[in-house]
């Protein structure tokens, strides 16, 4: 029978879901929020179950009705389930204003969109009835009931579109009061109509494309129509491959003629920018219009940025603890003799622009799969996330199809929350960066660290091996139409024709089950190799693994699907989530399948790995693709790029009359309240950052937790302790400074590397000796450099800046990823608009912490402690947060960009990283100097415990206190220890100076007395600083 159930909170209880929706409404449309006097949220379920009324009633009652908490409204299936009317009238009568004017908005998924709640509801009914219902259908949705005399249809449509639904994946229906109280929506026929049913005209059609004889235009048109994102040279390479007599003849013997759509799709996926990183492999001609005096030497002819500046950099820093770099889904480094840890950071920008929640959710569970599929499989032990969006108080008109940045941020935040929390992986580190130019495409970086034994079931865990004859098994989720063309789509600019099939929702529960199963199977030695199904689906995962044995042969009709009717090419390239591909030795297959069955995990046995040299795909008996592996992986023609750098822009004028004493206090508060600096507590607390019980240093430093004097401040990085029997830990930090791209991407990249190192050594990561386990990960998010000399030059400079910084401090890269098409092309009021992100490099650093008892937090700890500055040699105001606030000028006498001093950097980092000296354990607090400069760092260190500070300098105060730059830290030491530490710093050649003292005054005092005789200072209440930093009411 067909059933509709609406579940409401009993009116006696508050309704947090409705309240949360109203908070979001208040932020997006304050004037509309005022019109809503009352709101309630109901969960709605639609069922089509082959059960009688008598069977259905007890099952539904047991599953859906919590009598303490809820009313359920079912038409009149369960008559006593609400108040006296047994209908929604009961709920309306509980509203404070009666008679009122009521409306309801119903939200449903579009057909084919992943509906996890419905999936769980199905399992629940199967549990309570003890039966399976393969033919049953369930859908979930919600009903938001609103009351307000000023509400009208337009207002409700705005609520539906901006608060309730993403119309790409969801639809909504508006009910007037009269329609609500009628029970039409519970009628059998109506429910049948409302239950989404995917109408797919079943087809196993395979098309062929006669490429021979096609002109370049025709080839390009074909590529464009099919969303292959292949350029003319690539299409021609494909054309001539299939035209070669040898290939033609071989294909003839196999019964193949012109290339099939399956083959062309596989090539397009494998050669996509997303998978192949063609730009990083490109041959580049680089020129400088206006070379920088004393600037870096960058070669004019570059044979691949990846090879020369990333892998090449690591090759120059060989370390025995580097177990696997750039060859697997993640970089792997040794933790100790028994264990290794791995790290990968991904981006999910394009999907997040269309559906922020789904995009970030699939981003985080996707990078979790990279870890699960790295080596023989690792357990994810932490997540990181970095989001770049336009400011969330953006108030100008939005170009077509773009979502408001507030909505983007809330969506991606919720995606990471659900992806991490529901998978039991702590989200320990991240950053938020705001810039108007992220309006067109937000950047969503998701990272994961993993932990693995170095030997598992007798095999070295960091390597993969496949023998011909091993079975190809797809594990976890099923294949659907969702996610078709994700890889090629992300290799194109976002425009208003972007396909909604590129949007997916993740299912963390299915993946968690699969992950638990796979780690168990790994330890039992049940499979030989593993990789994830990400971009490109089976075409990439099987196509890549096939290189290990030298071939693969699979029958995609054996793959489990979400629904019938998928075409062979769709089965091969769909990026449906939660899937891993493993190679299973034939003799282990029965055990592997039996364990999967016991764990409730689905496996499709698709075929076997071979040594034929071909990637062969069948659909049943029919051969639908046979591709030469050599051509598939090596046949993509090399891209050529031109790059020309115009030189650094002219530095801004100074404003010498600005008075630090008069303006400094207000400037400091303004800076602390800038979204880039302000507290991210609202976000961090919604992530479980402590699950797995490994937390040592948390993202927020929290004093008096649970008490009335509770307060927080920021920490620089995170430390976890992943192994119960070992005192060692892992530190993670990140660096991202896109604001310097406008001055010089070379500098920007150096700063990203430096900041990542600062954040990681600050909390206790080891650094500085060849044995110090310290590794970097690069993630480039660029506006398209193809055909744009400026953007290509920015990329070249960033790569060389990154390389130089890493070499200076001997920090190898172990993994990386790039996203090169972060541009939006669309319309605003009919006019064409193009928005490109600023060149953005995220560097993530991971390090071993030799003993977590040496880990450090950022807050001032005791009154009377001495405050020191380590580093601080060449900070600059140009490009700083203060500069951004001032706009055209910088205050004070000096406008300069920061510069690195690598010799100082090595000394400071080696000392903080335990490679030099022996008194580090006496440090009471360490906080790095970044956005907002030294004064912001001191202020932040005051926040967590509410201490004050009194500091002074003999330098010019604007640049000293607010300048930003490289390798600087604010540290504290107890007064008795200070002589010892000063002696050690001096002996080791660290640049240091005393800034002042921690006080118990609730005031931050910053004075200056220059040798010129100028002096002055500011004094500001820490309470006021905290209030500026918390920025309440700004965030959701």
């Amino acid at each position: 029978m067909f059933v509709r159930i609406e579940v409401a909170q009993h009116p006696e209880f508050a309704d947090p879901m409705a309240n949360a929706a109203m908070r979001r409404l208040a932020l997006a449309h304050p004037e509309l929020r005022k019109k809503v006097r009352w709101a309630r949220w109901l969960d709605v379920y639609w069922f089509d179950f082959p059960l009688s009324r008598e069977e259905m009633i007890p099952a539904l009652t047991e599953v859906f009705w919590d009598r303490v908490l809820q009313w359920v409204i079912t038409g009149n299936l369960i008559p006593s389930a609400a108040g006296k009317h047994g209908s929604i009238l009961d709920l309306m009568e509980a509203a404070p204003h009666r008679p009122g004017k009521f409306w309801a908005l119903e939200r449903r998924f579009r057909p084919g969109v992943t509906d996890n709640v419905a999936h769980t509801a199905m399992q629940a009914i199967e549990i309570v009835t003890g039966r399976k219902f393969p033919e049953a259908r369930v859908a979930s949705g919600s009903l938001l009931v609103l009351e307000g005399p000023q509400l009208d249809e337009d207002a409700l449509a705005t609520v539906a579109r901006d608060i309730l639904c993403n119309e790409l994946i969801e639809t909504w229906t508006l009910y007037s009061e009269a329609e609500m109280v009628k029970s039409d929506r519970f009628h059998q026929e109506r429910i049948k109509r409302d239950l989404p049913r995917l109408m797919i005209r079943g087809s196993d059609r395979v098309e062929t494309h006669a490429l021979s004889g096609m002109s370049q235009d025709q080839l390009l048109d074909l590529s464009r129509r099919n969303l292959w994102a292949l350029n003319p040279a690539e299409m021609q390479a494909v054309q001539s491959h299939f035209a070669s007599p040898e290939v033609v003849e071989r294909r003839r013997t196999m019964g193949l003629g012109d290339p099939t759509d399956v083959e062309l799709e596989v090539i397009a996926q494998t050669w996509s920018e997303h998978c192949k990183h063609k730009i990083f492999g490109a041959e580049i001609e680089y020129r400088e219009q206006d070379p920088l005096a004393g600037g870096p030497e960058i070669p004019s002819s570059i044979q691949g940025l990846f090879r020369e500046t990333i892998a090449g950099t690591t090759a120059e820093i060989p370390r025995p603890w580097l177990l696997s770099v750039f060859s697997d889904n993640a970089g792997i480094v040794a933790f100790d003799e028994e264990h290794a840890f791995c790290i990968k950071v991904e981006t999910h920008n394009s999907p997040s622009a269309l559906d922020p929640y789904g995009g970030a959710l699939t981003g985080i569970v996707g990078v979790n799969r990279d870890i699960l599929g790295c080596g023989l499989g690792a357990k994810p032990i932490f997540n990181t996330n970095v989001f770049c969006t336009a400011p969330i108080d953006y108030s100008s008109p939005l170009p077509d199809r773009l979502l408001h940045p507030r909505r983007i941020l809330e969506g991606v935040r919720r995606g990471v929350e659900h992806g991490g929390n529901k998978s039991g992986i702590p989200t320990v580190n991240g950053a938020l960066v705001f810039d108007d130019r992220y309006l067109g495409k937000p950047l969503v970086y998701c990272g994961t660290g993993g932990f693995m034994p170095r030997v598992s079931a007798g095999r070295t865990c960091q390597t993969k091996e496949i023998l011909p004859g091993d079975r190809i098994c797809m594990v976890g989720g099923r294949i659907g139409k969702d996610g078709i063309h994700g890889a090629t789509f992300s290799s194109l600019a976002l425009d208003d024709a972007s396909p909604s099939s590129a949007v997916q929702l993740g299912d963390p529960m299915t993946q968690k089950r699969a992950a638990d199963f796979l780690l168990e199977a790994r330890d039992m030695g049940l499979y030989r190799a593993i990789t994830d199904n990400g971009a490109g689906g089976l075409s990439s995962s099987v196509g890549e693994l096939a290189r290990l044995s030298g071939g693969a042969r699979m029958d995609v009709s054996r793959a489990k699907t979400k629904y019938a009717g998928l075409r062979p090419y769709e089965l091969v390239v769909s990026e449906s989530q939660e899937r891993m591909t493993v190679a299973v030795a034939p003799e282990k297959l029965p055990l592997f399948l039996a364990l999967a069955e016991r764990r409730g995990v689905e496996v499709s046995d698709l075929g076997d790995f071979t040594s034929s040299g071909f990637f062969e795909v069948f659909h049943g008996e029919r051969r639908v693709a046979t591709l030469d592996l050599q051509f598939l992986h090596e046949g993509c023609p090399r891209l050529k790029l031109e790059a020309e750098w115009r030189g650094r822009p002219e530095l801004p004028p100074t404003q010498a009359t600005a008075s630090f004493s008069r303006e400094g206090a207000e400037v400091l508060q303004t800076l602390l309240g800038r979204p880039n600096l302000a507290s991210k507590e609202w976000m961090i607390r919604q992530y479980d950052h402590e699950v797995q019980g490994t937390s040592v240093i948390k993202p927020l430093q929290h004093s008096n937790p649970g008490g009335s004097q509770s307060s927080v401040g920021p920490n620089d990085g995170a430390v976890i302790k992943p192994k119960p029997g070992s005192p060692s830990g892992i530190a993670v930090g990140c660096g991202i400074n896109p604001k310097y791209s406008d001055w010089d991407p070379y500098l920007m990249a150096q700063m990203a590397v430096d900041e990542a190192i600062r954040n990681t050594v600050a909390v206790g990561g080891e650094f500085g000796s060849p044995d110090s386990v310290f590794a970097l990960v690069d993630n480039f998010c660029w506006p398209d450099p193809v055909g744009d000399k400026d953007k290509a030059a920015a990329l070249v400079r960033a790569c060389f800046g990154m390389r130089q910084a890493a070499l200076e401090v001997s920090a190898p890269f172990v993994s990386g990823k790039d996203s090169m098409k972060n541009d939006y092309r669309g319309r605003l009021d009919g006019a064409e608009v193009k928005i490109s992100v600023p060149p953005t490099l995220l560097v993530t650093a991971v390090a071993k912490v030799p003993d977590v008892r040496l880990a450090r937090s950022s807050e001032f700890k005791l009154t009377g402690d001495a405050i020191y500055l380590l580093g601080g040699e060449c900070l600059g105001l140009v490009g700083s947060e203060l500069h951004a606030v001032r706009g055209a000028t910088v205050p004070g006498p000096r406008a300069r960009l920061p510069e690195p001093r690598w010799d100082s950097a090595r000394r400071i980092y080696s000392w903080l990283g335990f490679a030099q000296g022996k008194e580090q354990g006496r440090l009471r607090s360490v906080h790095d100097v970044s956005d907002g400069g030294i004064l912001a760092a001191v202020a932040e260190s005051c926040l967590a415990r509410g201490f004050g500070a009194s500091i002074q300098t003999e330098e010019e105060p604007w640049e000293f206190y607010f300048g930003e730059g490289f390798h600087s830290f604010v540290v504290t030491v107890s007064e008795p220890d200070s002589a010892l530490l000063e002696a050690e710093w001096t002996a080791l050649g660290l640049p240091w100076r005393k800034l002042g003292t921690v006080t118990n005054t609730d005031r931050l005092e910053a004075r200056f007395a220059q040798p010129t005789g100028e002096s002055g200072g500011i004094s500001v209440e820490v309470r006021a600083l905290r209030s500026a930093w918390r920025k309440e009411g700004y965030w959701e």
């Binding site: 629940a124 549990i127 089950r513 919604q686 402590e690 490994t694 649970g706």
Partner: protein, 255 residues
Amino acid sequence: MIGGKKPRVLVITGDGINCEQETAQAFTQAGFDSEIRHLNDLVAEQFSLDQLSARYQTLALPGGFSFADDLGSGKVLALKLIHGLGWDLNAYAARGGLVIGICNGFQALIRMGVFGKDVSITHNSHGKFQDTWVKVNPSGTRCAWLRGIGSMDLPIRHGEGRLVIASFRRREVLAKMERHGMMCLRYEGDPNGSEERLAGLCDPTGRIFGLMPHPEAFVRWTAHPEWTLQPSRANAPGQGLALFENAYQEARRVL
């Protein structure tokens, strides 16, 4: 130790439970032999209450996101425990067994009706998932797990931690729970709008205990948010360990 035997704890996992390892580790640290078993294996074996009582002195339902919290946190896990295993936990306790449900495990115990039909748990009043440390205070002497324990700092990490009591007979239910010593753990502040600031409940025997905070996440001092203030205590155990040690003493007594 009697006959050199360690008490054994069964830590259940599967279906999205995700704190099984640190929970087992906490029990091990307290002296237990910890066994993590997948719920599906127990269901497939039809592992009976008799077998449970014979083999394990303690049962733990760890934290996590079983069934993704869909249809209400712990709800479907509770249905699976009821229909798949049918263990009568009151009978298990009567035979000397100890039970703990942490966070999602506590939510499942509530939905199984272990603490009566008039108690439920739902979304925090602020509507958000929240990871923060809180102070909790044991009250009364009934709960075997909290014996001798004073105020503790522990992390909470949940979106649905607001205990609610059937509104139409709230006073009566609270009085009864008070009488039976069930309201055994309270927050010092009010992090989630929970009735009576309740952070945990026990059954009238005091042997079945559930709580929203995570004691297994504070078994070493370096997990505390303020540990860097007193690095000299870095080797100390965390306050949460005392719960598992209480269970150890109690389980050893009945072994």
